[in-house]
């Protein structure tokens, strides 16, 4: 691949910087202003100290600041820091000169190379950008060095760059800022990787090193970081929507007399999603919405409840699945000759993402444009959706991404639900004012797009040595992709991979494996939730394998190791976690230790959990020791933070989270009923990484899957009770 191809992710682009201009002009009208500037304009821009584009990812200012254009949404996982690190590394820049900005919607330039579309998710941000951003940095560096070499009349190879300062043995010295203007006019180097080679990993000064602080540290600790909730445009109205209490419900009629009396309420409009109250302030909009009287038409609504759904799922796993996701060997034969057969059934509830910042979106709709400002996670879905609603062309829809107060998957939606809602409101008022749609916490909790509920049933056969010979695994639940625009791409032969991932690719060497799926249709929208299918499959596989180890009378770590002989990454993570945790020590009565190891998003994370059964029979999680195999570690502290956060996120859900419906209505609303993990629940978490020189893999999600099963296995160790239904809830335990 040429450098240009590597930067563009294989998109056909011409081989000069002009090539970028052409693409930018084609799909990102009016956004990539700097790219379209000719040398004359560039000179004036430079005189003003503005940043000069070197390629779609790197700008350098005459004042020396290097701006990295970040193509991924940063909802806390740190890709902003990571991508800036890749550029700084290849440019030999000083960390203090790095700046970042979020990329506009432009899939030609800013596609996620793992998706071939612009979006953030699947823990792909760093993995898909690994070569692309380093290439962009190396290219910019080469151009700056060439400009210096030209000016100094020396060979490029004699120039050394360190911390953004160029030096030549003759004593000549300069900064990137000084050469920014001249360098930005040079053609980008073209050709093979050899012409602008990446740095050899042995020369890394930033990648993999400790002590590099998050680039968003400052603005997020002084109140200046701007989130969607903080955006204010001239004449903007805040919209709060009365949504139907049941999914699929519609407005029958509404009475807005009282709502209109609320000071500050300006407009009230009906949209397909409900009734929107628009006001000059958020509080007026909330008050106006509360004063609305809406009669709902539930004729087409989902009116069943969680008990119905779980009964349906349990029934489904008691029979053969309607689709087969995996079949190796012959499970029936395995059961015939088995020394022992173990069966277990599991259930999992709906889960809400509950990002700290409830959903929101700003839209400024004009006659021939729509400008959106929000934490955009899936531009390639949102942009055409907005275009379809407004009748605009996709390129007339511009998206400005700002910091997102968490997402955990919720901001990337195949239906673009909340973005579409904001645009519907803007359309209903004919773009008379910019609109900021604000969901309250209750709107967010009750708004659907949950992690689907599931039931699993597993039947496993052991041979006379206690090793598994057959594994029949039935899963029933809703499909995330079914019924969406992505169904054709993601559902194959009736199998939505996100329903079975983590089981269909079972890591343990079991000769016969059969995974069956029954996809249930329920009128509650569902979505990926941090680590997607692994949120439930890891729990089943890892508690089941623990149960098999006990049935075989073997140590759970050794048993796993024996079955993971051909999985070096699993082995390395498991060994490291077990070692660091002191696996094998005897614990006092009332304490328990459990382990789990799971691969997701190409990374493997093992966790060892220590718990204590409290005098009241409740569970206290004391410590989690985690080991992650994530390939090359780009920022060790960000990796640790993601595992710490993943542990907390998964733990909160395992302990007490469930969205339940009764008669079609969601029973939880705010944090008093959908109870988040709090600081007093948080265990001490230690995170280790397995040394590796392989390309980096994800870490935004892989810390989540092992925590629930490791906790369940620890509870078993302390109490002899298996945890097969999540969450734990108010259950009390007795130690043995």
């Amino acid at each position: 691949m040429t450098i240009q191809e590597r930067i563009s992710g294989g998109q056909p682009v011409s081989t000069s910087r002009r090539g970028f201009l052409a693409i930018a002009g084609g799909a990102g009208v009016g956004l990539m202003i700097g790219f379209k500037a000719g040398p004359a304009e560039a000179a004036t821009e430079a005189a003003k100290g503005a940043a000069l584009e070197f390629n779609p990812f790197v700008k350098v200012s005459p004042n020396g600041a290097i701006t990295v254009v970040v193509k991924h949404l940063d909802m806390g996982q740190g890709p902003t820091t990571g991508l800036a690190t890749l550029i700084a590394e290849e440019m030999d820049a000083d960390w203090s000169q790095m700046r970042t900005e979020f990329a506009p919607a432009n899939a030609n330039l800013y596609a996620n190379l793992a998706f071939k579309a612009q979006g953030t998710g699947g823990s792909t941000a760093m993995a898909n950008s690994w070569e692309q951003y380093r290439t962009a940095g190396a290219t910019a560096r080469a151009m700056l060095v060439k400009a210096a070499a030209d000016k100094w009349q020396v060979a490029q190879g004699e120039i050394v760059v360190d911390k953004g300062v160029l030096t030549h043995p003759s004593g000549k010295k300069g900064t990137y800022g000084e050469f920014a203007e001249a360098a930005s006019k040079l053609p980008a180097p073209v050709g093979s990787a050899q012409q602008t080679p990446f740095k050899d990993p042995s020369k890394f000064k930033l990648i993999g090193k400790e002590g590099l602080h998050r680039i968003d540290n400052d603005s997020k600790t002084d109140g200046t970081a701007i989130y969607t909730q903080d955006v204010k445009l001239p004449n903007m109205l805040v919209a709060v929507v009365a949504h139907p209490p049941k999914f699929g419900g519609k407005v029958k009629s509404f009475d807005d007399a009282e709502a209109k009396k609320v000071k500050g309420v300006e407009k009230i409009v009906q949209i397909p999603q409900g009734v929107a109250v628009l006001a000059k302030s958020t509080w007026a909009a909330i008050s106006g919405r509360n004063a609305l009287k809406v009669e709902w038409d539930d004729a087409g609504a989902e009116s069943r409840g969680s008990e119905d759904f779980l009964a349906m799922a349990r029934d489904a796993v008691s029979k053969p699945g309607t689709a087969t996701a995996k079949k190796t060997g012959d499970v029936d034969k395995g059961f015939e000759g088995a020394a022992k057969v173990i069966e277990a059934e599991f259930t999992f509830p709906y889960l809400a993402h509950a990002p700290m910042e409830p959903l929101n979106c700003v839209v400024d709709l004009k006659k021939d444009s729509a400008h959106l400002i929000y934490g955009a996670q899936f531009q390639s879905i949102d942009q055409p959706t907005v275009a379809a609603i407004t009748g605009l062309k996709p390129e007339q829809v511009t998206i400005e991404t700002v910091w997102a107060g968490g997402s955990f998957g919720r901001r990337a939606v195949p239906t673009a639900d909340y973005v579409a809602e904001a645009v519907m409101i803007a359309k209903a008022i004919e773009g008379s004012n910019p609109v900021k749609l604000v969901w309250t916490r209750e709107d967010d909790t009750k708004g659907g797009y949950y992690r689907p509920f599931y039931a699993h049933k597993v039947k496993a056969a052991l041979d006379k040595d206690g090793m598994p010979v057959a594994w029949l695994h039935r899963i029933a639940g809703q499909s995330i992709f079914a019924g969406t625009a992505l169904e054709a791409m993601a559902v194959k032969d009736g199998v939505d991979e996100t329903s079975v991932e983590g089981v269909s690719n079972l890591a343990y060497a079991v000769p016969s494996l059969q995974v069956e799926l029954t996809t249930l249709k329920v009128g509650v929208p569902v979505l990926w939730w941090r680590s997607v299918g692994h949120t439930h499959t890891a729990h089943v596989v890892e508690t089941m394998i623990d149960e098999l180890a006990h049935a075989a009378g073997k140590d759970p770590v050794e048993y796993r190791m024996a079955l993971l002989k051909d999985k070096p990454r699993h082995l390395a993570a498991l060994k490291l976690a077990a070692e660091k945790a002191g696996w094998g020590e005897k614990l006092a009565k009332g304490r328990g230790r459990g382990v789990a190891v799971h691969e997701s998003f190409n990374s493997v994370v093992a966790q060892v959990v220590d718990i204590t059964i409290k005098p009241d029979g409740g569970v206290k999680v004391d410590r989690v020791v985690a080991a992650a195999e994530v390939g090359t570690v780009i920022n060790p502290d960000v990796v640790r933070a993601q595992v710490e956060g993943g542990v907390g996120f998964g733990l909160g859900a395992a302990l007490r989270n469930a969205i339940t419906l009764k008669g079609g209505e969601v029973q939880q609303g705010n944090f008093d009923t959908y109870k988040p993990l709090r600081i007093s629940d948080m265990p001490h978490v230690e995170v280790y990484t397995v040394p590796s020189t392989a390309n980096p893999t994800g870490i935004g999600e892989p810390g989540v899957p092992p925590i629930a099963p490791a906790l369940a296995n620890a509870i078993f160790a302390a109490t002899g009770k298996r945890i097969r239904d999540l969450p734990l809830g108010e259950q009390k335990f007795q130690s043995v």
């Binding site: 806390g76 109140g223 903080d230 700290m356 705010n670 993990l677």
Partner: protein, 155 residues
Amino acid sequence: MIKLNINGVDRDVDVPEDTPLLWVLRDELGLTGTKFGCGVAQCGACTIHLDGSPMRACQTPVGDVADSKVVTIEGLVAENASKEGKAVQAAWRALDVVQCGYCQSGQMMSAAALLTSNKPNDKDIDAAMNGNVCRCATYQRIRAAIHDAAKRLEA
């Protein structure tokens, strides 16, 4: 008109007295560092100091604070800020506490208030900080950063 004292500056606002202080700060005064997370005193994202004590701005009617001194995150870390505010900010940065960052203004406000009393242990921290939710679960670092800030205040 309601007269307020925010971060040492007198401000006049023309809003109904029962408007939560949170929305006055955010929508009327442009002080958006104070966040909206729940609106019902369940998450602490809106924590401010009212005469030095941590309060949930979403449950504080603006009419009740006319005679009080309000400090927000912007005031907590300003040039002439309290030593607790500075120590908390330095510790938060040193330990890279933030992830999405949305809860952190509230976390820092609660932490700074806690640090005006004796050097806290883990139990004190859990008790004082339990009303501040972090969906990114940065809790372990919050604990460590409060200890770090306490050390900075001793030095």
